[in-house]
Symmetry: C2
Subunit: 122 residues, 2 copies
């Protein structure tokens, strides 16, 4: 049988749109999604699940109502369930998100222009 | 409030033992564990869960009963639940594992010398 590894960085060469996560792998009922992000996202929360950010390239900021964190290349951060947050990136960054299948990227704000389709594989 | 990101590579400076995964983060009931590995592990399977390998530094090989895959720096691979596998690394590699809390590293072979303690944070 032939098995193939997933080259994470290489996957970013396959698309240019921003804030539109693409699935690159599944583990049980969780998905690994990658996205290019630049500028500010909207404030939102995911009531039922934590959300993991890993920065593959660049540097992002995640704001909370009571503070913020910078997450640099090679770093990660887990946003706890229910916590309002706003990701942003001054220049374009490449991030990987890990969260359960079916999580809406804009959280409670499902009707935002920034709401992305789920289950788009790349 | 002060929030801190997790510098993944930096965490490997804090230990030297091999095949002993250390927890660096939790997401819901999943854990992110890092380990240094070198040489051959034992054949084992995790009946109830997939297991994700991300190679942070180096290059590993995962053997299956019907093939194998090399996973290089910056690459990942998800071993499906129930699939017998044997990880190995010719030289020391730094890997990150993502799997549910409580998974035993040696799978069904809980009595192996290589069985690591769980929930060791670093």
């Amino acid at each position: 049988m032939n098995y193939s590894s997933i080259d994470i960085s290489n996957k970013y060469k396959l698309f240019n749109d921003q804030w539109q996560p693409k699935v690159i792998a599944e583990m049980n009922d969780y998905q690994f999604k990658i996205a290019k992000i630049e500028g500010e996202f909207i404030w939102h929360a995911h009531q039922d699940t934590d959300e993991t950010f890993i920065v593959i390239k660049g540097e992002i900021k995640i704001e909370f109502k009571d503070g913020w964190v910078k997450v640099k290349e090679g770093e990660m951060f887990v946003v706890p369930a229910g916590v309002e947050h706003r990701p942003s990136s001054e220049n374009e960054s490449q991030i990987m998100l890990i969260e359960p299948k079916g999580v809406v990227n804009t959280g409670e704000n499902e009707s935002s222009d920034l709401t992305a389709k789920n289950d788009v594989w790349i």
